[in-house]
Symmetry: C2
Subunit: 380 residues, 2 copies
């Protein structure tokens, strides 16, 4: 087993307060402090779709995610490294997190072959053949230069017991190889817990990954097709077994209710394409539910998207105008809805953090559950 190095001061995690299982903390990185709980928007191709870094900063984003698989294929890690790394390349001065490429590669289905050493796959862009191993995934992430990088893991369908046992074993072996391969102490490598929807596998995986001593632990293999109760049950299982002194990152989760339920169960970091993807599909996220702004009922509605929201979009534009932009096919619709949706998640995480610091999370969560269920205005 890999002998964990002492956590460098670059990546100290201060646990500021706990409230039940929920936590408020500060995670230090070379590009700034991340106050947790935190939601990170996804810049798949080194750009959060339809938004400038200035807009992200203005709406309160502190951490941005980028996808190693996509950047490896285009523009290629040499170009990003030549620019001085992702921060310089994409003009984002704050903390950045990259995934390992594993999730995307395994999503390629019939375009990839897995063995114990790694994965051979064909590019979705041009069919060219490539190979990722744990070592290669780390090397590419070192070239990209994010603050937080991920171990190369295998993410199976959540309900296939046999496959989850096998994938978990591989994920553990690969995590050790990733740690051994990593050479840059300006990057924090997080191990990833797998195990599908099987409590005993999740426990085993949490125990194993915890022993690696990584400066944070990611929870993979959720929000990939299982039900919400199944996901929440897995978080209930994991919460007491993950190291209390490291941030916990729930990968790919970004629905409003899931954010609340996962913070309630001790998660600190989130990312998801959902807010920006919904924005490009005309949907607004609020704490009361979702609105489909293409709906004709909004044609003359002069209210802001969310009267409770203080984002740039809600301060300046009506539902009527946003609907017009959608119907007219204007790019600005995606921009304004992305600003609003990201603001919803970023401020929700910040408000949950404040409630934890003030010991009133239970009240906030109870109120949220009541309103989110009751007032859901229009489902999309």
């Amino acid at each position: 087993m890999y002998n964990p190095a002492p956590m460098t001061s670059h990546f100290a995690f201060e646990l500021q307060a706990s409230d039940g299982r929920a936590r408020a903390g500060r995670f230090h990185t070379p590009h700034g402090v991340i106050e947790t709980p935190v939601f990170a928007p996804v810049g798949t191709q080194a750009a959060v779709k339809a938004l400038t870094p200035a807009q992200l900063e203005e709406l309160g984003v502190s951490l941005v995610l980028a996808n190693t698989y996509h950047l490896y294929l285009r523009p290629g890690p040499d170009i990003v490294a030549g620019a001085g790394g992702l921060h310089e390349f994409m003009g984002w001065p704050g903390p950045i997190l990259t995934d390992s490429g594993g999730f995307q590669v395994f999503s390629l289905a019939d375009r990839r072959r897995i063995d114990d050493d790694g994965v051979t796959f064909r590019s979705h862009l041009d069919g060219s053949e490539h190979r990722f191993t744990p070592e290669r995934a780390i090397a590419v992430q070192q070239q990209l230069g994010a603050d937080i990088i991920m171990a190369f893991d295998e993410c199976p369908a959540p309900d296939d017991r046999a496959y989850n046992e096998q994938a978990m074993a591989r994920t553990h072996a690969w995590a050790e190889r990733c740690l051994a391969a990593k050479t840059n102490d300006q990057q924090a490598l997080f191990g990833i817990v797998q195990g599908g929807i099987f409590p005993d596998l999740r426990q085993q995986s949490a125990d194993f990954i915890s022993t690696l001593g990584t400066p944070g632990v990611a929870i993979g293999g959720l929000s990939v097709g299982e039900s919400k109760p199944e996901m929440y049950t897995m978080l209930d299982v994991l919460s007491p077994r993950l190291p209390a002194d490291r941030p916990r990152y729930l990968m790919g989760v970004g629905a409003v209710d899931d954010l609340v339920e996962a913070v309630w169960r001790g998660v600190d970091i989130f990312d998801c394409v959902l807010p920006t993807r919904l924005a490009r599909n005309d949907a607004a996220m609020t704490r009361l539910g979702r609105l489909n702004l293409r709906n004709a009922t909004f044609a003359s509605d002069r209210k802001p998207i969310d009267p409770a929201c203080d984002c740039y979009t809600c301060r300046h534009f009506s539902r009527s105008y946003v609907r017009h932009l959608i119907v007219a096919g204007e790019i600005l619709a995606a921009t304004l809805l992305s600003i609003h949706n990201l603001t919803t998640l970023v401020t929700l995480a910040a408000d949950l953090r404040q409630a934890i610091l003030e010991g009133r999370l239970e009240t906030m969560v109870a109120e949220f559950r009541r309103n989110y269920a009751k007032h859901r205005p229009v489902e999309v």
Copy 2:
């Protein structure tokens, strides 16, 4: 003939300085002062494509144009009026100009029938039949509520003498009807000079429109297929015949060299879709010429798009990154290039203004002509 009303103080034009035929001025509107020469971006559907009003304001835009034809069809003038007018609807607090809808309607070719009273046309959206007359064009523009509105004119092909004679006569008759129909003194109605590429027609039209006493005069029917020398010759013809104490608006012009040549010939206001359309087609405008950022030569180019430019895009991003966004199909490419291209025109107009105020326009124009011709890097 219509008896011109005295110009209201809402729309005073201060001529601050002249340098040769070029002029520097300040045009007062109910939503703020426009310093001229000025370039106005086009928000065809009440949105400048891919940009927020905040981004427009940050890059120095003072005047925005919107298209009556498009807004009449969608969302419809009732919705805009119900929102309190275009300023409220689109979240742009500064001056707004609307065209009359004429240019777009006449561009519909086989979808429209012209008579001396007006134009019947079919919507490009759903084929529904509509009719614009001078009175209707003014009524719709009054509902939209822009600061500067345009007379309903007929814009023929520039080189058809017979048609230009006929269209000019109609344009003049319609201008009088527009003035008679206008009731809102919070809006300035500009008459439009037509006459194709025929100096005598242009002179006749300038003389006629000048007698109407409108608070500004627009030059229509240029930048519609004629050559650049033909356009410049028409401006040479018009310059001495237009009222010196009113702003002159050259409709639909926005190429970098045309802006310089037209300011040199006494034009004060410009609008064009070119900078934002080029941006969505991967092209950057500079004072040295255009760059096609999709070009592979920029793949690892860490320089800004224009090292002489101080816009948000050039301060934060490399040619390499912008090319990556283009190749990857990211919306952000259009946003960043639109910011840059509009900045190029807005700051060029501001620099020309400063040169006029300081009496050194001839030097600036001579230098521009030398560099724009010589260094044009990549034509697109």
